[in-house]
């Protein structure tokens, strides 16, 4: 199941939120305890949700924001930092200025450089007031005394001075500047998507240096290490939302399901930990902005003229597999039973150029996230243990080309390679 792949999050699973504290112990200014401003704290909690800090800074099943979560990267393994208010091992001795410095410039209080796994390239757009609110909230969570684990990076990436070069190429410091020609909704949406939401971390292609170019913003790419494809948000052939209504986009972001499909893979994490908690106004604003990204794209192409002999064979085997395994939920006509079982006909996530996501869904199955708007999701079974590589290739080819879908065939070798993709 899980169709519209709109996978933001863990693309930079590896580069994201890693922040190793290498500074000297900071002098404590927090001697006199003051009563926190509860309205500010509540706002900060909300914004921390919008920033999905928990995804990296909390190890699943462990203490909130105590860090230590390993982030596999092509450069080695990073371990996320403890951002609880523990004075020795967390950020208990930081000031609001220092916290803003980290968010806005990607530097530790002692001036040391953060690895760009911490999405300071996006967080730099966050306003000072919002940063202060998040900091006020983090000060109120239970402190956890746990030293940060040193990163385990390969040579030469263990040399932090390389980050300077990376920053020169890819980092543009600066708070979000509203576009006066656009609506308030659009600007609020852009602020959330480009800033705290750090959607570009996954939805913009990453090059060999772990950087992404602004001119390719939101054009999609394969998430390193995770082997999920983060589709383009600008092309309506992928996850571009230009053809969707604001209501459908909002449903997908907030509940994880919609008439057109469901979130899955890394995007399920984003909805589960972050988007389901946002206000309907903010979700709507994000929808307005996201829809505008997908507008003006090229019109949808028609199905390619079929087929070579090989893809004919694939299609006929694929149809057999489909009728036996898939049609009872997704229908012989591919219409599905939305929102429980997503449609496959005309589903951007099935048809898009990369076949990685539909292939992985067939192999691994999946549930959309359980959210307030969809507390009991319907799931798709894994088929890795039941289908051969040929059958997987055939059924994926079938759903990508049946019913007028315009996807390309996949080979059994491609199907086989994805059997070893990491599951978490």
């Amino acid at each position: 199941m899980g169709k519209l792949g709109f996978s933001i999050t863990l693309r930079w699973n590896w580069l994201w939120c890693a922040a190793l504290l290498i500074g000297l112990p900071q002098p404590s200014f927090a001697g006199a305890s003051t009563t926190p401003d509860m309205a500010l704290v509540a706002k900060g909690e909300y914004l921390a949700r919008a920033g999905d800090c928990i995804a990296c800074h909390t190890t699943p099943g462990d203490k909130l924001f105590a860090g230590g979560r390993p982030m596999l990267t092509p450069f080695g393994t990073l371990y996320t930092s403890n951002i609880t208010p523990d004075p020795e091992t967390g950020i208990g001795n930081w000031t609001a200025d220092q916290f803003y410095g980290a968010m806005h410039t990607g530097r530790f209080p002692d001036g040391g450089l953060m690895y760009p796994a911490m999405p300071f390239g996006s967080y730099t757009k966050v306003t000072r007031a919002d940063s202060d609110a998040i900091f006020a909230y983090l000060k109120t969570i239970p402190p956890v005394h746990r030293a940060n684990r040193p990163h385990d990076l390969d040579f030469p990436y263990n040399n932090r001075s390389l980050i300077l070069g990376w920053r020169t190429l890819y980092f543009n410091e600066g708070t979000y500047k509203p576009d006066p020609s656009k609506s308030a909704d659009w600007n609020r949406g852009a602020y959330l998507v480009e800033g705290l939401g750090h959607c570009a971390m996954c939805h913009t292609a990453i090059n060999a240096l772990g950087g992404s170019s602004e001119s390719e913003a939101f054009q999609g790419g394969l998430i390193p290490m995770q082997k999920w494809y983060a589709p383009s948000l600008t092309s309506n052939k992928e996850a571009g939302l230009g053809d969707w209504s604001i209501e459908d986009i909002s449903d997908l972001l907030r509940t994880g399901i919609s008439r057109h499909g469901a979130v899955y893979g890394p995007m399920a994490e984003v909805v589960y930990n972050s988007l389901q908690y946002l206000s309907s106004d903010d979700i709507r604003a994000m929808a307005v902005y996201l829809k505008s990204l997908g507008e003006g794209g090229p019109p949808q192409a028609n199905a390619p003229a079929l087929p070579t002999d090989v893809s004919s064979l694939l299609m006929s085997l694929g149809r057999t597999v489909y009728e036996a395994r898939c049609a009872s939920c997704h229908g012989s006509d591919g219409a599905g039973k939305p929102p429980k079982y997503p449609p496959l006909a005309g589903n951007q996530s099935i048809e898009m150029q990369s076949a990685v996501n539909p292939t992985r869904m067939v192999l691994n199955g999946g549930f959309p996230p359980g959210t307030q708007g969809n507390p009991y999701p319907y799931g798709m079974p894994p088929f890795a243990q039941l289908l051969s590589d040929d059958e997987v290739a055939a059924v994926v080819t079938y759903i990508r080309q049946a019913w007028g879908n315009r996807g390309t065939p996949i080979s059994s070798q491609q199907a086989n390679e994805l059997r070893s993709a990491p599951l978490n």
């Binding site: 699943p60 099943g61 994490e269 999946g366 549930f367 359980g370 009991y376 999701p377 990491p422």
Partner: protein
Amino acid sequence: MMKQGLSFAIFAWAFACATLGWAQDRNPVAERVLACASCHGAQGQGTSDVYFPRLAGKPAGYLFHQLVAFRDKRRKYPPMNYLLEYQPDASLKQMADYFAAQSPPLPPAAIPTVSNDVLERGKTLVTQGDPQRGIPACARCHGPSFTGMEPAIPGLLGLRARYIAAQLGAWRYGTRTAIAPDCMQIVAGHLTEADVTAVAAWLSSLPAPANASPAPQGSWAMPLKCGSEPN
């Protein structure tokens, strides 16, 4: 007129059947857990794969604990960890309740592939334990006919030897853990590999009892304190 009445009756009958069938098909929880069926069977009866366990009729508390443990990675098996990663407790509870309420027949007992000596050793360990090595009999917690006990002690029937052996191994190596005090980890820690083979072979050879339902809570005293089961 009569013909009309007859066709109406046939129509009504067909409609009623279709509606009933539809209603049955649309049991929302059964539909939700179709994702589990390809490995565990639609009613949780198990499939031909010997490593995938039967879920049907196990106590709901036990099943819920396992689902939570997979989600939180206390029990490690990547395909399950992945599937449950973003499911809140209520969603997992509904799945657990569904499979606990199913009662498809138990599969026929396995024909042992080990020697009689090994089988005998398995029987002794399972029914009497080995007090000198600190191993309680399986029956002390899992019940005299191994049906388990509400709310969280699983039955041991209808499981294949390879699954049982793999789980005891997982406890010994720490890839399967339960709420502390994790009594199964303590027990499994005392077992040798030969013990595991013997226990798994004998348990999987047991025939189904007349009543395979778990015993009510508190039916017997637990020999040791377990975090999963109230004592």
